[in-house]
């Protein structure tokens, strides 16, 4: 049966991208532990509005762990204490009565704060625009069963494709690197037969864009720990291998022009 929790929140508030930020201490009494973390924040916001104060700004939408919109550092952990769980699926039963809970935005140079807990993650879109696709314009696709794909290959591609693009990997990384995100997209497309034609251009373009925008990977592995979809860092190794091969192959292609 449900418990009631009395919490103290320490919430990062920042009025705009260039404004200095601060921690506000907000009391959150009477929280039903069946609530999700974001329902708790909804309730806190209702109370703030009732007091005439501005609601805490935070990104969220699907509330079922799939859209990748929610994004909070909770007590220093990306998406909070439960492994393999996005913030929106975290429930208050994971917290103790009387706890002080610190809530911050993703912190990374490539993800500037927009307001309070909301950040701008469009750097991820830039990486995908650089090459995270298969060129297959609408119309003229061959029958879908033309190319059988061994189940283990399709399954591995799906393991990578499960990435929700939330940015927890970047937020958890001491260097704010985006290797796990980028390698998940590279892995998804480079494993499939349909992705072979652009395999090497893809990996080179995506990795180069990533390096322009994000920090460098020094193999801490924090990203895999933080990932709500538990994407494996093995995909980083795969990406690095393809990238090396690409540097070689793409140069060879260039010399033929």
């Amino acid at each position: 049966m449900s418990r009631e929790l009395n919490l103290t929140l320490k919430v990062w508030r920042q009025d705009g991208p260039d404004a200095p930020g601060r921690f506000d201490t907000i009391a959150a009494p009477g929280i039903n532990d069946e609530m999700s973390f974001l329902e708790m924040l909804d309730l806190v916001n209702e109370r703030l509005i009732a007091e005439g104060q501005e609601a805490i700004v935070f990104d969220h939408d699907c509330r079922e762990g799939i859209c990748g919109t929610c994004s909070l550092m909770i007590d220093g952990q990306a998406h909070g204490p439960q492994k393999g769980t996005a913030t929106c699926q975290l429930h208050m039963r994971k917290f103790d009565d009387g706890a002080e809970v610190t809530i911050e935005p993703w912190r990374a140079t490539a993800f500037p704060v927009i307001k309070d807990l909301m950040v701008d993650r469009s750097a991820f879109d830039r990486i995908v625009e650089a090459g995270g696709f298969i060129t297959a314009e609408t119309g003229g696709a061959p029958d879908a069963n033309m190319t059988p794909i061994p189940k283990p290959v399709a399954d591995s591609a799906m393991d990578a494709a499960a990435c929700i693009g939330c940015g927890a990997c970047v937020a958890a990384c001491p260097n704010s690197a985006a290797q796990l995100f980028t390698s998940a997209k590279v892995g998804h497309l480079n494993l499939l037969p349909q992705g072979q034609a652009e395999r090497y251009q893809r990996v080179e373009a995506m990795v180069d864009t990533m390096e322009e925008l994000f920090g460098s990977c020094t193999n801490h592995g924090e990203c895999e720990e933080a990932c709500p979809k538990e994407i494996s860092i093995d995909f980083i190794a795969l990406m690095n291998k393809d990238y090396l091969a690409a540097k070689f192959k793409n140069r060879k292609l260039l010399s033929r022009k």
């Binding site: 009025d15 705009g16 039903n32 609530m35 999700s36 329902e39 909804d42 309730l43 916001n45 209702e46 509005i49 009732a50 005439g52 104060q53 501005e54 609601a55 700004v57 939408d61 699907c62 509330r63 079922e64 799939i66 859209c67 990748g68 919109t69 439960q82 769980t85 699926q89 429930h91 039963r93 927009i114 307001k115 993650r121 469009s122 879109d125 625009e129 650089a130 995270g132 696709f133 298969i134 060129t135 297959a136 314009e137 609408t138 696709a141 029958d143 879908a144 069963n145 059988p148 189940k151 399709a154 591609a157 799906m158 494709a161 499960a162 929700i164 693009g165 998804h188 497309l189 349909q194």
Partner: protein
């Protein structure tokens, strides 16, 4: 204004209409396409696919979304799958059968020609998405796997684990990202449409609000496409993402686009019941679970034993009992209403007695836990994360929740609304599902509209406009619409009342769910219609929006959306009141058979009701488009 409901259905036999249309309509030659500007609002499956394809074809496209990235659209949340008449299983499927199932599933309230085209395009979608790298589930031999879904007796549903919507949306998003990278599509993210501008009877552009800076600006184009999703969130409680809303479609409606069949809403039978009053988002458990799960309630309403202690003969497998041939796979509306009946009779289970059991015990015994884990592992995990109960050990508890809206902006065969140059695609239009949508058919419709239908039909409108320029945004109509939008948002901020937008939303939702939900009566609808205007007036007087309009303000965004829900709610109730029959998701208690089944009235209601805005939300004008059934025999929809 007069509303013209000419559906422009092409001549010829049903299986030649689309081919004939594509041959006869006007084309824009590739070199001229860059002379046209097209606005696409919404980047879900329908909008993302349309913007990408129009960009590929060479049009200059501007795409808008209130999300931070196109990849976040609500389409991402679809779990179960997508239908296509591939007949890869050789179990008797065909374009004709998918067409037939969809018309019948929609309770004979959809347009035959549109549905046939949808079934035709379904096969192309699977080819297209596979070529783009969507990792659909496969069999050991490497070919694509299929499963069956509610309302069909063949296996035609393609899926990618329990994340089909995610994988399809990522496919469309990647195509769109490529076009953005190439400079053919200009993306405006975190930007919300707040009005449509019509000049000389044609769509001229849109007014948008930047959700980061609060700035209101205009954009003009030769044509505007709305692909802005459904309006289930009018009920407050729903499976839709939190930000889903009706504003784009509603603002178009206020500018002359007819709104069709607003009362056709779908309540999904398998959601996790609400755990406290405050919760708005309910989590859907994919309908595919009904393939292996058996639904039951205790025969004795006072039976408080834990489910494993209740012997077989004291359980009521009510769907299997009432619908022996479809059993647990009965269509959504039937399964939902049956659950409502059981819970209202007091047979509900769980702490709030607001659910029914979905039990996998028998399937685990038959197939083993490993097979069940392979099929539904991630869904079971999700359930356990939310409820702290493992469905491997205890039956799931489920209950129906608002999920999908079949109604939407009226469109003709070309997906054009009653405003020339304004198109509508995906869940936002009313076109293909009649009074009830079959599982796995929304993804199919969104992608058919976006990839194959709209990019073909839009040239018919654009071709004669060659050489014209879009209306400049300093035109007085744009200026007036911008000023009105600024005033509207400033107005919410200045009311200074006591209640938050959410508190009004919750109250409106309660009225709608109770009086215009799974079961409607003349009395309940009239009650809703008498209560909503009062609540809306209170909203205008007592709303409190804190913060300001110059930076991100989610309370302010919500206020605008709730304001539009109030007006939509009234036309939903009026539509439900004037449709004196039961069909699909619309169940009028007065119109049922002795066995409690929906009773259609084909004589008087085999038509689309399209509502025209008159300036007074309580007095819209009702128009009808009659539906002809030349290919499918009107019959009582039986799943017994």
């Amino acid at each position: 204004m007069t509303i013209n409901l000419d559906a422009k259905i092409p001549d010829g036999p049903i299986d030649e209409k689309w081919t004939n249309y594509k041959f006869e309509h006007k084309l824009v030659n590739p070199a001229n396409r860059r002379k046209y500007e097209v606005i696409v609002v919404g980047t879900g499956l329908a909008g993302g696919a349309a913007a990408a394809t129009l960009g590929e074809q060479g049009y200059r496209v501007k795409a808008f979304t209130f999300h931070d990235s196109p990849r976040r659209a609500h389409s991402i949340a679809a779990q179960g799958g997508i239908n296509a008449a591939k007949n890869y299983k050789g179990d008797g499927d065909s374009i004709w059968r998918l067409f037939y199932d969809t018309v019948k599933g929609g309770d004979f309230r959809s347009r035959e020609a549109n549905v046939y085209r949808l079934a035709e395009e379904s096969v192309n979608i699977i080819d297209q998405m596979t070529a783009q790298g969507v990792p659909f589930a496969r069999e050991y031999g490497g070919l694509l796997d299929n499963r069956s879904f509610g309302g069909a007796q063949v296996s035609r549903t393609f899926y990618a684990r329990g994340q089909t919507g995610q994988q399809l949306l990522l496919g469309a998003y990647q195509q769109l990202a490529r076009q953005i990278g190439l400079g053919n599509v200009e993306l405006h993210n975190r930007t919300e449409l707040v009005d449509i501008v019509v000049v000389d009877g044609r769509a001229a552009g849109i007014v948008v609000r930047d959700l980061v800076t609060g700035e209101v600006t205009s954009h003009s184009a030769h044509a505007v496409v709305l692909a802005t999703g459904g309006y289930s969130n009018v009920f407050f409680l729903s499976t839709n993402a939190m930000a889903c809303n009706v504003t784009a479609a509603w603002r178009a409606h206020r500018r002359g686009a007819a709104f069709a069949n607003p009362c056709y809403t779908q309540i999904h039978p398998t959601c996790i019941p609400q755990s406290d009053d405050f919760q708005s988002k309910l989590t859907l458990m994919s309908e595919s679970l009904r393939n292996d799960g058996r639904i039951w309630v205790p025969k004795d309403p006072d039976d408080n034993r834990s489910p494993d202690q209740i012997p077989e003969d004291q359980r009521d497998y009510y769907l299997e009992r009432r619908y022996p041939s479809f059993g647990n796979l009965a269509p959504r509306d039937i399964a939902s209403r049956a659950a409502l009946v059981e819970v209202s009779k007091g047979h509900g289970v769980g702490p709030l007695k607001n659910g029914v059991y979905l039990d996998f015990g028998e399937a685990i015994g038959r197939l083993g836990q490993k097979v069940i884990e392979e099929r539904y592992g991630n869904l079971f995990e999700m359930y356990e994360r939310i409820t702290d109960e493992s469905p491997y050990k205890v039956p799931m508890r489920i209950y129906p929740a608002p999920h999908y809206t079949m109604g939407g902006l009226w469109v003709d065969y070309e997906l054009m609304t009653t405003v020339p140059g304004l198109y509508c695609a995906g869940e936002a239009n009313f076109s293909d599902h009649g009074a009830n949508r079959l599982g796995a058919s929304a993804l199919m419709q969104g992608l058919a509209d976006g990839y194959f239908v709209l990019p073909a039909t839009i040239s018919n409108y654009l071709a004669p406009l060659l050489g014209t320029k879009p209306v400049p945004t300093d035109h007085p109509e744009f200026q007036a619409a911008e000023a009105a939008a600024r005033d509207r948002f400033a107005g919410y901020l200045s009311i200074g009342g006591t209640r938050s937008p959410d508190s009004f939303h919750m109250e409106l939702g309660k009225i709608m769910l109770e009086h215009c939900g799974m079961e409607r009566t003349k009395q309940s609808l009239e009650k809703a219609l008498s209560e909503i205007p009062g609540l809306h007036a209170e909203f205008r007087k007592d709303l409190r929006v804190t913060g300001d309009g110059e930076s991100t303000n989610q309370t302010l965004e919500k206020a605008g959306r709730v304001d539009d829900f109030f007006e939509l709610a009234q036309v939903m109730c009026l539509d439900a009141l004037t449709r004196e029959e039961s069909c699909g998701g619309h169940f009028r208690a007065e119109h049922q058979t002795d066995e409690g089944e929906a009773e259609r009235d084909d004589e008087n209601f085999a038509h689309v009701a399209a509502w025209e805005w008159t300036g007074d939300p309580a007095q819209p004008a009702r128009h009808v488009e009659s539906l002809e059934f030349d290919n499918v025999h009107l019959a009582v929809r039986s799943y017994k």
